[in-house]
């Protein structure tokens, strides 16, 4: 579905990604783990078109994303829930969701589940009680739900999730991971970036380990969970 072919991305003179190859098949949950500054967020921002790669290519359903503006990447069906959630603080909850659906109507509706506001509310009932509330007044967990809901409003084929568990209470973390699984089971392919490596690898079909902008390891989620190097560096065993 999505192929990253030797992607290099840099911030000014600092090379953040070196020769990244990632492949995601339709229906998968793929996770990208690694420590702070390894290049996980950079990878997602490059896919979304916020950062432009220096070289390499990205092919999504046969089409290159390399020179595509971010809003056109969304139009192709790739949505991102960015790090820190980035809820529009002075838009209401329902306006935040509407903005997620901004691209709908400009592109072919995908088959399968049509996510609309009602369905987002089914997934996250708490949001329904807060439709008129400003996004900035929600709690961290609610904001994470809203951020995921907002991305789902665009009917994504591929959902990019950047640290969805960051800063959330443990009970909320397990709820978010459960929801990610549900969304995937409804046919949405997922690329998950996480520091919580154990939970992410358990959930994922496959994983990549990123270190200093280079992919060190890749494999099935389960295999990585039992890999000695991964255990030592990321799982704290």
């Amino acid at each position: 579905m999505l192929k990253l072919l030797s992607i290099h991305t840099s911030y000014g003179h600092i090379k953040a990604l070196k020769d990244i190859d990632i492949e995601i098949a339709k229906g998968e949950i793929v996770c990208l783990i690694g420590s702070n500054g390894a290049g996980k967020t950079t990878t997602l921002l490059t896919i979304s078109g916020i950062l432009k790669p220096d070289s390499g290519d990205m092919i999504f359903e046969g089409e290159s994303l390399k020179n595509m503006a971010p809003h056109n990447v969304v139009n192709k069906g790739i949505c991102q829930v960015p790090e820190g959630r980035r809820i529009f603080p002075r838009l209401t909850v329902s306006e935040n969701l509407e903005m997620g659906a901004y691209s709908i109507g400009k592109r072919q509706k995908t088959k399968g589940k049509q996510y609309n506001m009602e369905k987002v509310f089914n997934l996250f009932p708490v949001l329904k009680e807060r439709t008129k509330q400003m996004g900035g007044t929600l709690s961290g967990g609610e904001q994470q739900m809203l951020a995921i809901g907002r991305a789902l409003m665009a009917n994504p084929k591929l959902l990019l999730l950047d640290e969805p568990s960051l800063g959330l209470a443990p009970i909320m973390v397990s709820k978010i991971f459960k929801t990610i699984k549900e969304i995937n089971e409804e046919g949405v392919t997922i690329l998950l970036v996480e520091q919580n490596a154990k939970a992410a690898l358990r959930l994922s079909h496959r994983g990549y380990v990123l270190e200093n902008g280079v992919i060190k390891l890749s494999g099935r989620g389960e295999d990585l969970l039992h890999n000695e190097n991964v255990k030592k560096a990321y799982l704290g065993d």
């Binding site: 809003h71 960015p82 002075r90 901004y102």
Partner: protein, 321 residues
């Protein structure tokens, strides 16, 4: 002594009789002026809201609007449309002026600001001043340095009530300004594109990730701001009857004051700020001295910056996420 007391009584009596009338008169004059300031101020505040940039060339769009109004209406007078139907001629004048000014606003952003989007903040400011000087001189060279006369006089006919008068033109300016502000408010609050404008103002990266064409929204902001300034330009040209190539400078600075007064970046704030500025200016001209007409705006600016720098409806910067 007896005669003297009578005289004072007389004065007080006439003052009391005149007082509400004069106040009402200044209210009407002030609203006319304030509506125009508010329309220009909206352009400043919308652009600031989205780009955190003071578009100091915005006043020139207003000046261009005044000139284009004169040119188009003059053209319609020559081809005889004004004698067939004045309202129709005015309608097309307004329409064409707004379209051309919006094109100027659009081009201004693409030429002067977009290439500097990630530059230090001083660069677009200097670029704005450059565009402003360029447009002034461009108009001076093509239209001459002398005053141009608006081709249509609307006269002083209007509504008269006791000693208070409101010309039809004043009424029209107040109504048109009010309607434009109301439509803008509804556009920003209710439409998909208006909500996208607010989203872009709050977080450009996230807006892009949500599928919003951020550059498109920025262009729309400049187009709307320029359209409102164009309308203000035509109305002022018809109100005063005379325009000059430098009218954009002082009007621009006053409208900027209005935007700061209301809280820069805040749309209802620009409306409120513009109207307050208009009211203060006419009251000051009537009750204190018209010599200092232009000074009142800046006195207000200084007072506001001392007492409430965020402006009347402005949010404190901590809310910027």
């Amino acid at each position: 002594m007896h005669a003297g007391t009578l005289c004072i009584h007389d004065n007080i009596l006439t003052f009391l009789l005149k007082f509400p009338a004069m106040l009402l008169q200044q209210l009407i004059n002030g609203l006319t002026l304030g509506g125009v300031y508010a329309l220009i101020a909206l352009g400043y505040t919308m652009v600031y809201g989205i780009l955190e940039l003071i578009n100091f060339a915005h006043g020139e769009i207003y000046m261009l609007g005044a000139y284009l109004g004169i040119i188009f209406l003059g053209l319609f007078t020559v081809i005889g449309l004004t004698s067939v139907s004045l309202p129709l001629a005015l309608f097309f004048t307004v329409l064409l002026t707004i379209v051309v000014c919006s094109a100027y606003g659009f081009a201004m952003e693409k030429v002067a600001y977009k290439p500097l989007r990630n530059a230090p903040r001083l660069s677009p400011l200097i670029s704005a001043i450059g565009i402003s000087i360029f447009l002034q001189n461009y108009v001076m060279l093509t239209q001459g340095a002398t005053d141009q006369v608006f081709p249509q006089r609307f006269g002083d006919s209007g509504l008269q009530f006791l000693n208070v008068s409101m010309t039809y033109l004043q009424a029209l300016i107040i109504i048109v300004s009010g309607l434009l502000m109301l439509s803008l408010h509804l556009f920003i609050q209710k439409t998909r594109m208006g909500k996208a404008m607010r989203a872009v103002a709050q977080d450009k990266t996230m807006a892009a990730l949500a599928g919003i064409n951020v550059n498109g929204i920025i262009s729309v902001t400049f187009i709307i701001g320029a359209g409102l300034a164009a309308m203000a330009g035509i109305m002022v040209a018809s109100y005063y009857g005379l325009v000059n190539y430098y009218i954009g400078y002082i009007a621009g600075i006053k409208a900027f004051t209005a935007a700061v007064l209301g809280g820069i970046g805040n749309i209802p704030g620009a409306m409120v700020g513009g109207i307050i500025l208009g009211l203060v200016e006419s009251a000051g001209a009537a009750y204190i001295s018209s010599e200092y007409k232009d000074a009142y705006a800046f006195i207000i600016l200084i007072v506001i910056l001392l007492i409430k720098p965020a402006g009347i409806l402005g949010k404190n910067t901590e809310e910027k996420v």
